[in-house]
């Protein structure tokens, strides 16, 4: 890949992560936080933004340093850089909202081992210039945030009868508790994957006709 010049425009690069290679719905990466913290849309948004911040900062810095990092110590270097930005985001979230920090719990620290980030760094940022790495990371971050919001939104609507804390169905609504439990995460993810598979099949059928 390093020998190939960058062909895609920045917009294509951005859209790749958001749609074509969406980390949650297409590549099925980062499933641990995707299932664990998406009990509400607010948590999903917080986790998505935190991961996007780490993705953009890590990919940009690693891309800038890519010529100086020897191949033999690249993983150690990447992990140190990723862990640094995760620590920063950890402090920043504590400074902004302790309620969000409590809700996201250990999953903020676990961003260090999120496979989306190391995957992006290894397959893209380490081989491309900073602007391209940053745009690609931004696209992946937005795609991941959309994925989490799609899960968190549905789970909060049915599991608590509200969205972003705003009540939708009134007091008579009986929450589906299963939606905020771990099985609810798998259930909603399965339904979204089914929906995207159906979309893809329909598109294929149209092109075939």
């Amino acid at each position: 890949m390093s020998s190939q010049p960058l062909q895609a425009s920045n917009m294509e690069e951005l859209l790749e992560g958001i749609w074509k290679q969406n980390p949650v719905f297409v590549m099925a990466l980062g499933m641990c936080p995707a299932l664990a913290v998406t009990v509400s849309a607010f948590n999903a948004l917080g986790m998505g933004l935190a991961t996007t911040f780490v993705l953009i900062c890590s990919c940009t810095l690693i891309s800038m340093l890519r010529r100086f990092i020897p191949r033999e110590v690249r993983i150690a270097t990447y992990i140190v850089i990723i862990a640094t930005f995760v620590t920063l985001v950890d402090y920043i979230i504590q400074a902004v909202s302790l309620a969000l920090y409590e809700a996201l719990g250990a999953f903020i620290q676990l961003i260090v081992v999120n496979c989306i980030i190391l995957g992006r760094v290894e397959s893209h940022a380490a081989k491309n210039p900073p602007l391209s790495a940053m745009v690609n990371a931004l696209g992946m971050g937005i795609g991941f945030t959309i994925g989490l919001l799609a899960l968190g939104g549905v789970r909060e609507i049915f599991g608590a009868g509200q969205l972003f804390g705003i009540s939708l169905f009134g007091q008579n609504f009986q929450p589906w508790v299963v939606m905020v439990l771990p099985p609810g995460g798998f259930f909603v993810l399965g339904l979204w994957l089914l929906f995207f598979a159906w979309l893809a099949k329909r598109k294929e059928a149209r092109h075939g006709a």
Binding site: L65, I69, P70, V80, A83, T84, L88, Y91, G159, L181
Partner: protein, 231 residues
């Protein structure tokens, strides 16, 4: 021999370059972490204080001034930084006349998924705990989180007996959580049916904290009363 393909020899890795790169990257990262820690520290401390004060005020609505103290074997002192080893942090709430209204302290124990932390209110006149506020909990929604909302469970803490032995060395009775509907005594907590582990964590957290705090606090209660009046 002349027809053979030339062999590409991978140049030997320069060890010094590897060490130098790692040192540079770790130094850069270390500097970044320390800088952001310094910048965010005041905001984090303020946030923690606000959250705690909110919990104390929810527990003791009459509180007009809240003062932090540390109780240790040496006595009671105004809190400074983190509590020393063996010391227990507590919060004295004074009413608008400067009279000590109640004491609040935090206890925690392992629940079903994580540590359950509760802030409990203590009054010396009844030698009892009169209420709790859950400050940290990640228990199962709809089951374990009933410790916040279940009225029957919260009733346990309206007058939970935490009186000390005559020598003021420990609680007269160990605070403990009992099976649902089997509570007999004032120092027992009736568990929520289906959420026994979380209910037990609340009981254990309160007992552990009260067993440490009250024997160090009660003999020096006058100090707390006077300091409140002086401020």
């Amino acid at each position: 021999m002349s027809g053979e393909q030339p062999i590409h020899v991978v140049p030997p890795v320069n060890s010094l370059r590897m060490v130098r790169t790692l040192m540079l990257v770790t130094s850069l990262c270390g500097g970044l972490i320390v800088a952001v820690w310094q910048i965010t520290l005041p905001a984090i401390a303020t946030n923690k204080k606000v959250v705690l004060e909110r919990s104390v005020r929810a527990l003791i609505p009459n509180a007009s001034q809240i003062v932090e103290y540390d109780a240790s074997a040496q006595g009671v002192t105004a809190a400074k930084g983190d509590p020393a080893d063996g010391a227990v942090r507590f919060y004295a709430a004074y009413d608008k006349n400067g009279t000590l209204d109640a004491i609040a302290a935090e206890g925690g124990a392992r629940g079903y998924t994580d540590t359950v932390r509760v802030l409990y209110g203590y009054r010396h006149d009844c030698e009892c705990i009169f209420g709790i506020q859950v400050t940290q909990m990640r228990e199962t929604p709809g089951i374990g989180d009933k410790i916040i909302t279940d009225p029957a469970f919260l009733k346990n803490f309206e007058r939970l007996d935490v009186s000390l032995t005559p020598d003021l060395k420990s609680l007269f009775n160990v605070v403990k959580t009992v099976k649902h509907s089997t509570k007999q005594f004032g120092w027992e907590i009736d568990a929520i049916a289906g959420a026994t582990i979380t209910s037990k964590a609340v009981g254990r957290g309160i007992n552990d904290s009260a067993q440490r705090l009250l024997p160090m606090l009660v003999p020096h209660l006058e100090v707390v009363k006077q300091k409140g009046g002086a401020q």
